[in-house]
Amino acid sequence: MAFSRAVGQTVETEALNTAQIDEDLALVRSVQEGDSRAFDALTRKYRERIFSIVYNITANREDAADLTQEAFIRAFTSIARFKGKSSFFTWLYRIAVNATLSHVKRHRMRRFFSFENINEEMAPTEIVEVLAHKHAGDRSAGLSELQEKLNEALQKLSPKHRTVVILFEIEGLNHQEIAQIMKTSEGTVRSRLHYAKQELQAFLQDYVK
């Protein structure tokens, strides 16, 4: 199922991706020629996505804000070396993921959670229904508990397994894109994804089938 989704997704979004890649490349060229406003445009375009990845890997909103800024600054200071061999977003995601994994490795003995606010309107309906039943209608308590359990479960995975499952299931990237970002093979991505979901299934057994 994951494979067919990945293939389908690639076909459906190919045209969109091409337009996006061209648009990004034009902005990158402008930055390289000295137009700083073009970099502001790139930052605004990708900051939510980069923050989401970093936050979900670290489970700490302050660290995530700091690392997201760091990723953009690294991209800015080395943009002259960007030759367009990969798409800008793959390059940027790679910078962010590498910086975050280094941070996690450096601070593996010091782990503090700091959760982001839940936008209740964004919570999927099927989840809200299950939680309402489980918590006798106290929706907020149910959502907070699920947030905590989910973050705890993700943190039990190794950083690399966590990153793959976040990029695939939350960010919606396909196997090929994840392999490029993590500089590994698609086979490794699939294998890590399969293992990570098995682990999550076990950690979250109170909620899953």
Binding site: Y55, T68, F76, N119, E126, I170, L204, Y207, K209
Partner: protein
């Protein structure tokens, strides 16, 4: 005989791992978070741009960045204002890089009055670094000045931006606000 729990007719179906993970998308920062993010981002990018510059400029900025004044700087602190003049020296049809000269010693904030500049010429100038160096040499300032809401040119740090903004004024006596509060 063990009791077997009867399934609850009203109980909704259990969830899959994939469904649960989609809930993570509901964790979203507020607009206030992004406003603060952008402010800090510009601050750090300015610092990164300066760190790429050699010599005095970097040392002075680093000293400033670690001072307590920096930590407490807000737009409201942009109160100490000194007027300077931009000196342009045409020589054989060429315009040299303009230099802002401060009237007296200042700590925090500088407002520079500039005549209209030709944008193309100004963009090639080293306005900021030259101005800082000159005023540092004659003891006219003790802190580095920086522009409000400053986006940054990729290759030339703050210089290009400031020069371009001066050029954009397009009229004599255009004013550039420079503030430590970013």
């Amino acid at each position: 005989m063990p009791q077997v729990r009867k399934p609850d007719q009203n109980e909704p179906a259990a969830l899959s791992v994939e469904q649960l993970l989609r809930f993570k998308k509901a964790e979203q920062p507020s607009q206030a978070f992004w406003d603060e993010f952008e402010r800090k981002m510009h601050q750090r990018m300015f610092q990164a741009a300066l760190e790429r510059r050699p010599g005095t400029f970097r040392r002075v900025f680093t000293a400033f960045a670690h001072s307590k004044l920096f930590a407490y700087a807000t737009p409201a602190t942009a109160a100490v204002i000194v007027f300077g003049a931009v000196v342009m020296s045409p020589e054989s049809g060429n315009v040299t890089a303009p230099v802002a000269t401060l009237a007296r010693s200042v700590d925090m904030v500088v407002q520079v009055k500039a005549p209209a500049l030709n944008a193309a010429t100004a963009s090639q100038s080293s306005f900021v670094s030259d101005s800082l160096q000159m005023n540092l040499d004659n003891g006219n300032f003790r802190k580095v000045l920086a522009a409000v809401d400053m986006p940054f040119a990729s290759q030339s740090g703050s210089t290009r931006y400031v020069a371009d903004r001066l050029g954009e004024q397009g009229r004599a006596g255009g004013v550039l606000f420079a503030s430590t509060s970013f």
